[in-house]
Symmetry: C2
Subunit: 493 residues, 2 copies
């Protein structure tokens, strides 16, 4: 018997694979019936014009998978052990679904999650784009990176072929420890540091460790949306605490009965305000009294312009209550996916056990390169360079706002970081200005579009914008604010 | 007034930092009292023999952090706003804790987790080590890796400075899709693939999506310990289902009332048996009937020696019920931390949202290098080479066991993978043989030491060993089994 097999010599799949797939299809479609006899491998090879070995291998695979039976010298047959429900099998499930089956029932899912708005935006960018917290690719230390990677590659064979420590590579933990000591005033021994795939991954580990269904967790109002969504996805009941010009209003914490708080004291997101020392101490006191932990997300504290950085909350914490979340996304680039947690001693063992269960740690090469970058002093120089560039753009932004909107232009957060919060002139709505600016090729971002989380209806949501300046030169900033001023004028008219 | 400051010119910290730190310490220790007046910057600079700017910057930082107040021309004073509880602050918390404070209360932790036994073993290795599933560093494709990394590095500036898609880099998802099509018979479109930090990270995502407290989850008995521990850490109630010579006994599933099952059908861990086609179909039928998902962990299916690989469960799944978990840890090395999930269509959106919340995806460079490795055909050649080496070692192992323990030497799992399960000769206890072998520098591993999870007291636990051969040459395997045979002889005597 001849079998309808159609081989293509130019196809991506080998002849043997094509034979296998087509015979399997014929069996599953019922065109080759149970117990039907197939041509011998010799015949089939001759019919198809292929080597006998090609056919033998395809047959072997089909036998191995139970589609064919060979009875020694009696020949080769379609197996009679193929379950009935296979017999209308069609390789392409999408096709199948469209004509003869109901879609599968959707099983009960444990949770409905909302993805954050700020990741991987496929939006077209405006020519002058005030998106916040973006790393400018022109600042990526490519030559250093290339050198450090190549220096380490000779050791890649041994290091990539083994599981690393789930807590992260020792060299990097040590380097982060020393970096945090000099830049953030923290006494963070390497054994309390866990390397993560960025700040969000670190937050995720903390949430899994500490948050349970229905637990009250205090957050700044407004706050960083991805943190709020993550906490909620673990079942947290969020308790929004107002933010004033000095950050989270600590006196409002007691009433929340929260047992965990998430804060951004260096540069509050999105308002940009910095929490002063006195309030920091009161926050730590509250944590001690409430038997609570404080998550300190120090997302862009590397960039402070008018004074040295304030010591991190974790640096003045005498109660061992602060979980410090850091990342290289803002200083090297988010594509490297490396961040870290500094944990209170009491959390180190459980967090490590959880990390071992979850992901077995981060890729070795990325870690060792960053460790070398820090240890060689290159990272410090790199930060200095970035700080200098951002400083210039920040100055241009502040000057532009004052020039076009007068000395009373209302903004906060210009002391550090990569964005400011701008409260719009009276009568101008954020949503309208975003649209008007886009017409002159300027990208502006409202609370919604940066994914800020806010409960209640503050005027901020309606009347303010987050202005990021880290990818814009001073000239671009000035030009952009000029265009925005024109847009405001046209809206006001 | 003179302030007791002791500067070291050779110290790691700058003079400015030393001044800042020491004044802060004096204030917090109460040696500089609230409202005390400090020397002017000019005086202090003269006293210390440093430039006035150095002192000014230290003072500015202390003012900025609220430790000092300056009243215009009246001078500079210790702030009176420093909270009382700061005043016995000591920089080193460890020291603090040891002499005057109780350790912090340990807050209620959400879960007590057990870390898996098989990660990052710091054990000294025996000269001939039968540890399972290990990637031999001599097989790492170093030259290819170096070339691919350097080819891609010129694009690193733009790609590392952006967040990638949380699902993983498109090129890699496409490459995995095509690889799974040809090697595992799967129709896995790129948009159903999520790149993960290895198989465990993928499992973690699946657990978070599908497992809730008290949920019944069926597992093979015995099974892979890290999966069992992970499921339990999410609150799963494990339902162990016996494994026979054809894998999980599907007929026992109905009685468990489980709504999820975790299986290793290609090469059951740790027994090594392969589930035949007929039983695979019955497993899928059960899943459809029970409205359940099947997690297929295909951990070492790249290595099949005596026949082409059996199509994956996910390749014959007509119900869209199989969650396929794959990894490059066994084929490139666990240090690269890259794996993937192939999801049923109904789970893609929720899993992606969860992935976006959890980690924002994997590092770009590692992903693009693997994508290029696959697309160039290099990965296929690499797998072929590995398969050839493992095949030879496998042959040596089987021959060695037969030579020293007779034709009835009792083992399973030699058809594929990187280990076999060896049932010891009568009267020999696994624990004893492990000790005896270590004395002749041979590493043997029992169920406990490979972290296998087992409920009940099968004889396997006591009487069998997991023999990995992927890092041993045929000569080493033969030598090792010879030594083991001598150890068995001495134990039997």
């Amino acid at each position: 018997m001849a079998i309808p097999i159609d081989l293509r010599r130019d196809a991506a799949h080998s002849l043997q694979e094509q034979i296998y797939t087509q015979i399997r299809g014929l069996i599953l479609n019922g065109r080759l019936a149970t117990c039907a006899r197939l041509p011998s491998s010799r015949e089939m090879a001759r019919d198809l014009g292929v080597s006998r070995n090609t056919v033998l291998h395809a047959y072997d695979r089909l036998k191995n998978e139970g589609y064919l039976d060979s009875q020694d010298n009696a020949g080769i047959f379609v197996s009679n052990a193929i379950p009935d429900q296979c017999l209308d099998y069609v390789a392409d499930r999408r096709a199948l679904r469209s004509f003869d089956r109901e879609p599968p029932r959707r099983p009960d899912l444990r949770l409905e999650v909302t993805a954050p708005a700020n990741v991987h935006l496929d939006r077209a960018r405006a020519r002058i784009d005030f998106w916040y917290g973006r790393f400018d690719r022109r600042n990526f230390p490519l030559n250093t990176w290339r050198r450090l990677i190549n220096e380490n590659l000779s050791r890649a064979g041994s290091n990539l072929s083994e599981y690393g420590a789930p807590a992260g590579c020792h060299e990097l933990r040590k380097a982060v420890s020393s970096h945090l000591g000099t830049t953030r005033g923290m006494n963070a021994p390497a054994d309390r540091i866990i390397i993560t795939a960025g700040a969000q991954d670190g937050l995720n580990l903390v949430c899994r460790l500490l948050v349970q269904q229905g637990q009250k967790v205090a957050v700044e109002n407004p706050c960083y949306g991805s943190a709020a969504l993550l906490l909620k996805s673990y079942g947290a009941e969020l308790c929004p605490v107002p933010v004033d010009h000095l950050g989270l209003r600590v006196e409002n914490l007691a009433a929340t009965h929260a047992s965990l708080v998430y804060v951004t004291p260096s540069h509050q997101f999105p308002t940009g305000v910095t929490m002063p020392l006195e309030r920091r101490h009161r926050l730590l006191d509250w944590a001690e009294k409430a038997n609570s932990f404080v998550i300190e997300d120090d997302y862009d504290s590397d960039f402070r312009y008018d004074s040295p950085p304030l010591t991190a909350l974790a640096g003045i914490d005498q109660y061992d209550r602060v979980i410090y979340v850091g990342s290289f996304s803002k200083s090297i680039g988010p594509g490297v996916r490396v961040g870290y947690l500094v944990l209170p001693e009491v959390l180190v063992q459980p967090a490590l056990a959880l990390k071992s269960l979850s992901s077995y740690g981060q890729p070795w090469l990325d870690q060792i390169v960053i460790a070398d970058f820090i240890e060689s002093g290159g990272y410090r120089n790199h930060l200095r360079k970035l700080r200098h560039r951002y400083h210039e753009s920040r100055d241009a932004l502040v000057a532009g706002l004052r020039k076009f909107f007068g000395p009373d232009a209302d903004f906060s957060g210009d002391g550090c970081g990569m964005h400011i919060l701008w409260r719009l002139p009276n009568g101008i709505k954020a949503a309208d200005l975003v649209v008007a600016a886009s017409k002159v090729d300027v990208g502006l971002y409202s609370f919604e579009s940066v994914g800020a989380y806010e409960v209640g209806d503050s005027n901020l949501r309606k009347n303010s914008l987050v202005l990021g300046y880290s990818t814009l030169s001073p000239v671009e900033v000035t030009e952009g604010i000029g265009r925005v001023a024109a847009a405001v004028k046209s809206l006001a008219a």
